[in-house]
């Protein structure tokens, strides 16, 4: 394992019965980099993230990470039953052995210190996401894993949240792996984008991915003027089930802008 990589995934396959949710995925999370997973619903993004977290064991393939790697995790949605009386402070206390000062500092770094004494049931979507982020920071993570951090947050709040995540990366010098639906909102705050649809369709810098034909095929054309610049062939297509259909050999052409593993 390269020392610059916190996590290395090699030929990962995860099957639920006959359902091949993750199909031969290889990728690496680099020290200090923000990696964003994008892909349509059912593309296996959450499954891949859970495998990285060790919540799911792979059907085959390798996930290499240091056993002492400190991970801060922010789940997609936290549904706390309203019968559970819980303030933000008490919620953070159930996390790690952190001091009151640590808790306040974590809340300050997500600009949510005013929420300390509030009930978790009274928080807005964006406030809850910040509190969850603060909890993940309490562990002083080397890797921050965020499953759709912007869920339930309005557009302005989303941009702010992604900027916050980028600033946290700089401040805590950690790597970030996150899932997002909207590439254009995360673009500015991302080093590496992986476009996932059970397998890796394409990957690379956000500008490259946003103009990659396989990305456009999944998400539509962001701006038609970009299309011509990066048009190139793929060695496979998708049928309506998202399965890979190989093209004829004479059409095959590896493109350099996409580091995908086809």
């Amino acid at each position: 394992m390269s020392p610059a990589n916190l996590v290395e995934i090699t030929n990962l396959n995860i099957h639920f019965g006959a359902n091949r949710v993750i199909d031969n995925v290889s990728m690496a999370l680099k020290q200090g980099e923000i990696t964003t997973l994008i892909g349509p619903n059912g593309a296996g993004k959450t499954t891949l993230v859970k495998a990285v977290l060790g919540l799911l064991s792979p059907t085959s393939g390798m996930i290499n990470r240091s056993p002492t790697l400190r991970i801060g995790y922010m789940p997609q949605k936290l549904q706390i039953d309203t019968t559970f009386p819980l303030t933000v402070e008490r919620f953070l206390k159930t996390a790690a052995f952190a001091s009151a000062e640590d808790r306040l500092q974590a809340l300050q770094s997500v600009r949510a210190e005013a929420l300390l004494k509030q009930s978790v049931h009274s928080l807005s979507g964006g406030e809850m996401q910040r509190v969850l982020l603060a909890r993940a920071l309490l562990r002083k993570p080397e890797l921050l894993v965020l499953d759709e951090p912007a869920q339930g947050v309005d557009i302005n709040g989303q941009i702010e949240l992604y900027n916050l995540i980028a600033s946290i990366r700089d401040r805590y010098n950690c790597s970030v792996l996150m899932i997002s639906h909207d590439l254009h909102l995360v673009m500015a705050a991302t080093d590496q984008v992986i476009c996932l649809n059970r397998h890796i369709c394409c990957s690379g810098h956000p500008e490259q991915v946003s103009t990659d034909p396989s990305y456009i095929e999944l998400f539509g054309v962001p701006g038609a003027e970009n299309l011509a610049l990066y048009s190139h062939h793929h060695n496979h297509q998708h049928n309506e089930h998202g399965d890979i259909v190989p093209l004829d050999d004479d059409q095959e052409h590896d493109h350099s802008s996409c580091g995908g593993h086809h």
Binding site: K50, L53, G54, L55, I71, Y73, P75, L78, I80, D81, T83, F84, P85, L86, T87, R90, F91, T94, A95, A96, K117, S119, V120, H121, R135, R139, V145
Partner: protein
């Protein structure tokens, strides 16, 4: 005060104290049906106790614990939804218990006593089970409090943070199994879950933290036991159901009052 009344009070108070924190988890984790299922299986424990001539308390505790273990392992399968599974187990174990008790024709088992409890017939031996078992349960809850809360908030988050989630969840189910077994004498198989969930649900109205909710639930349970026994003594009503009615009255009162909470 008559001995039996003192024993009834002591038994009821012991069960109410331990039911507070555990009942809170039952409410938070929506396990009311799970509690019912375990309670219904207790009758099977009685039948087994009669059949093999073992101590009833021991037989019921073992039966509840074994059923809790079976439920935990069955919940991993995906063929039948959990609530369907619980429904099947609850009513078939109750029926199996009723059939088994009926087949033991040389022994007369007073069904009413087990279905609705017989608080006024609590013996010193029962008190030993209530305070011994209850004490162990309280000690374990105290030791496991933070991981139990973490698992209740979110199991995956807890697991990433290093909490042994499967073991904690199993521990909680076993604790509930033990409490149901020792509470059976007080309110009976059919009413046990109410003693777990009604005081906890009432306590929610007053609590601003999980700890407050657990403690207030215990206190409300104790008050309900006193009120129920008082009614039973003065109006000759059945003791177990009177305790439950008292708990219900607290619940209705607290939910009709305009209370402002901060959490």
């Amino acid at each position: 005060m008559a001995d039996f009344l003192l024993f009834a009070l002591l038994g009821g108070v012991g069960v109410a104290l331990v039911a507070g924190p555990l009942g809170s988890f039952v409410v938070w984790r929506r396990m009311a049906y799970f509690g019912d299922t375990l309670a219904h299986s207790a009758l099977l424990g009685i039948a087994v106790g009669v059949l093999f001539d073992i101590n009833f308390n021991l037989a019921v505790v073992s039966c509840c614990v074994i059923l809790a273990l079976i439920l935990v392992s069955l919940q991993r399968q995906k063929l039948v939804a959990t609530d369907t599974l619980l429904g099947i187990m609850a009513h078939s174990s109750l029926s199996l218990g009723l059939v088994a008790v009926a087949l033991l024709d040389d022994v007369r088992v007073d069904l009413m006593e087990y279905l609705f409890g017989d608080l006024l017939a609590i013996t010193p031996d029962d008190l030993l089970w209530i305070y011994g078992g209850g004490g162990i349960v309280m000690l374990l809850i105290w030791r496991l409090w933070n991981p139990l809360l973490a698992v209740t908030i979110n199991e995956e988050l807890a697991q990433v943070e290093g909490v042994p989630v499967t073991r904690i969840r199993l521990a909680l189910m076993l604790l509930i199994g033990v409490v149901i077994a020792i509470a059976m004498k007080v309110v009976g198989i059919l009413l046990i879950t109410s003693l777990l969930i009604i005081p906890a649900a009432s306590a929610r109205r007053l609590a601003n933290s999980p700890e407050q909710m657990a403690v207030i639930a215990s206190l409300l349970g104790v008050v309900a036991v006193f009120l129920g026994l008082y009614a039973s003594w003065n109006f000759d009503t059945p003791a177990g159901p009177s305790v439950v009615v008292a708990a219900l009255a607290q619940f209705l009162l607290l939910y009709s009052l305009p209370i402002r909470r901060s959490a």
